[in-house]
Symmetry: none
Subunit: 93 residues, 2 copies
Amino acid sequence: MRIRTPIDLGALIRERRKALGLDQKTLAEKVGVSRQWIVDVEQGKPRLEIGLVLRTANALGIALTVDKPTEGTSLAQPVILDSIIDAARKRRK
Amino acid sequence: MRIRTPIDLGALIRERRKALGLDQKTLAEKVGVSRQWIVDVEQGKPRLEIGLVLRTANALGIALTVDKPTEGTSLAQPVILDSIIDAARKRRK
DNA sequence: ATATAATGTCATCGTTCGCTGACATTGGGA
DNA sequence: TCCCAATGTCAGCGAACGATGACATTATAT
């Protein structure tokens, strides 16, 4: 399933939360945000923090992935991506 | 490749921007944000707006997808969820 | 039908955002 | 080597966030 908008992601978070048998209060406690925030993200509010959104997705076992560019394009190989990410993490610290 | 944090996504955005031969100013104009915002997202700032982040990814042709849970399996196991959440809490503090 | 749980909605407040513009530093082409 | 492009960094400001708590509405269990 393709994620294009905050509404797409919010609907997925709600679906997965219900599939896991959790209510909004329980998920909020597990993620470490307010229940109001869970309401907001499930409703697809566009101005929420990307860090909290990714954390919520991770907490629900939602694996966001990016497809590799199709063969023939000149984009970077996976190993280069990994080193870029490693470098970014080092800069963060 | 798996996107877990704003830094993961920021590094990917920068890599794809360069692969497309764009500079920060050009991408900013294409997305409709400031160049400062592009600097921020590439550096993995966690508190940026999810709506702008997704719009930037879309503008670069980055397709974010979510794998469906395999048929017959129950979703993520509770113990795995708990450890992920515990890790998230430790990072937040 | 009733009671409780879950969700939706709203307001307040301290904090941070995104834009803008300027300036410093680094990268890259000639 | 030089010059310009690209990127990094910084500050001020109006607007919105996330937490909190309360209340209304809907869903669900009995």
